[in-house]
Symmetry: C2
Subunit: 172 residues, 2 copies
């Protein structure tokens, strides 16, 4: 193939420019990669600080922010806690269903999360929440305000909280 001198120059210049660009691009990419890696590590550190149990889970207590009532107890995996923090809404991990469980996905009884706290052993989470979807809030699948409605009295468990809404009308 015959090419002119000007074509040769263009090709050489192109080669040089291309080589220079590639070097710049490589450096930029490396810097970007390092930054992203650092940011990701930083973003993950709070999750790494947690002592997940042998199933990769952590127990979670949900407490109503306004009343102080302990509403329920559930579990989270890493993804559930990351989503809870990102969305500001409680996302648990359902052990029985083996999948993420965005609280209220069926019932509409969503929990807005105001605070996420971790205990001294880094192995229990406390959420301060507002229980939405009903007034007063219903956290329990039985239609009660709180899951802790059975009180020990004289050697037996006594139900001491009313059903606020029939579960059959909650889960249609």
């Amino acid at each position: 193939m015959l090419i002119s001198q000007s074509q040769k120059n263009t090709v050489l210049c192109g080669r040089n420019f291309s080589s220079f660009s590639r070097r710049i691009a490589r450096n930029c990419f490396a810097a970007l990669k390092a930054t992203l890696f650092s940011q990701t590590m930083q973003a993950m550190k709070w999750l790494d600080d947690i002592k997940w149990d042998d199933k990769g889970l952590i127990p979670v207590i949900a407490q109503e922010a306004a009343s102080g009532d302990v509403l329920m107890f559930a579990w989270m995996n890493r993804e559930a806690l990351a989503q809870t923090a990102a969305l500001g809404r409680a996302v648990y991990y359902s052990r029985s269903r083996g999948r993420l469980w965005p609280k209220g996905e069926e019932s509409g009884h969503v929990q807005t999360v105001h605070e996420i706290r971790l205990d001294c052993d880094n192995d229990v989470i406390l959420l301060k929440v507002t229980q939405l979807g009903h007034e007063p809030g219903i956290a329990c699948h039985t239609g009660r305000h709180s899951c802790f409605y059975s009180l020990y009295k004289d050697g037996q468990w006594v139900v001491v909280e009313p059903v606020l809404k029939d579960p059959q009308t909650i889960y249609k």
Copy 2:
């Protein structure tokens, strides 16, 4: 050996009386045994109602009755819960030490128990307690009021509760 008629009567009467007494005693003993068995079964039923995990434990949340603050999270086995109910003081099961852990045994930070509640799945306990031994109450081994002193903020855990007493002076 020669014995008189009156002696014979006494012996016979003694035999009859002894036989009668034995029957009475047997019946009394059987009735007592049945009553005790029934009472024991009744006394145990509330413990049998609980869904203990595969290690024979149940998670326990301790909440300060007066303030509503969630103080700590621990575990109980059957014996710990039975003792807690009997004594009106929190007795946990220490998984790390593999034995009963009467709260405050070293620190003096005993918990008086006002209520024992069970959740809808029968697998979590909520205690309503008064935290004794210091004013304000110290439930945490770090010398803080509550174990949940780390707050999630902007991708990290921030300590938001003060140490009320140096742990070195608590655990001498």
